[in-house]
């Protein structure tokens, strides 16, 4: 088949989770090409096979993928628009335990609730809010404060407003279309983890890349057939 002058565009996410042991090209990247039949044929191209035992995570260089494609279509020009390295993690289907997950969620909920309450109290304690309230009251009203004043009430309302504005939502009701701070933090954290994984694998020489023999690379999961 003549594929000269054809360009295949591939784009992949940095982290891919697969549910089957045979990882095919279509699981890793999205493809676009002038000739549709090339795409549909390449989608089922086997890239690697997850072993029955041992590690179920691999880092694959895009060069390795290009090599696999070139074995099928030597003259095809390939443009990578996505990540240069992929983390492929095998997660067996149906392994999720709903009950266990529920327990974990409850634990995190209790920890964050009590933790946040504790944090605001330690802050108030540290900065001596009670004394400060007395001083502000006396400075403004001229007489010492007895019991609770409007200052405590307005401070509490201010805390509520500040927290809700900061987190940008309560319940399902969002105050704006931006992602919330923890969503942002979560993505940053994931990104850090992915970068670390890729760098760890490539430093240890365990990344599936071109120019390395499988036996030497330590991760013998690559199926070159």
């Amino acid at each position: 088949m003549s594929v000269a002058n054809e360009t295949l565009y591939i784009k992949g996410e940095q982290s891919v989770e697969v549910q089957t042991r045979d990882v095919r090209l279509g699981d890793l990247v999205a493809m676009e090409c002038g000739q549709q039949n090339i795409v549909s044929k390449l989608k089922t191209l086997k890239i690697l096979k997850m072993p029955e035992k041992g590690q179920h995570r691999f880092v694959i260089s895009v060069l390795k993928i290009i090599e696999c494609i070139h074995k099928e279509y030597p003259n095809l020009e390939i443009q990578n628009l996505g990540s240069p390295d992929f983390i492929v993690t095998y997660e067996a289907r149906g392994k999720k335990n709903k009950f266990l997950e529920g327990c974990k969620i409850v634990l995190v909920v209790i920890t964050t609730f009590i933790g946040a309450a504790f944090a605001i109290m330690t802050f108030n304690n540290d900065s001596g809010i009670t004394t400060l309230f007395d001083q502000i009251y006396e400075a403004l009203m001229g007489s010492p404060k007895e019991g609770f004043s409007i200052l405590e009430l307005s401070y509490s309302i201010g805390i509520i407003v500040g927290i809700l504005v900061f987190f940008n939502h309560f319940g399902k009701k969002k105050f704006s279309v931006d992602p919330t701070p923890i969503e942002v933090e979560m993505r940053l954290y994931e990104k850090d983890i992915q970068t670390t994984l890729i760098e760890n694998y490539s430093r240890k020489g365990q990344e599936l890349d071109v120019g390395k023999s499988d036996s030497k690379s330590g991760s013998s999961g690559g199926d070159r057939s």
Partner: protein
Amino acid sequence: MWGNQILNQVLLVVIGLSSGVVVAGGLFGFIVSLGVVSDLADRTHTGHMVLLYEDIIALGGIVGNLWYVYQFQFGESVVMLGIFGLFAGIFVGCWTMAIAEILNVFPIFIRRGKLVRAVPYIILGLAIGKGAGNLIYFILGW
């Protein structure tokens, strides 16, 4: 005289409201950017629940502040006290380590001391040390 009193009451409201807003923004920005909650969500693989966790932190902050300022009395319960202490401890434990992480304490010491292999022991030592220090702090009543 009365007009002055009312004006000062209004001033109190303004001070209270604005200091509350700023304190909330600062403290909760601190908690979030230290990544305590995203760490917890990641460790438990419940990343899809972060919106719930945010609600809960908001709720915890609001309730905790009301409790502190108005000093409500709850019934006597050693169990509740134990639960509160345990989870507050977990949270503060994550928090202090998150501060150390943000300040790059580990990478710097490990690089200076060429201690790459010792990382698990350093972490264990830190945890035991913090626990022991905490006990001494309370036992000696510092």
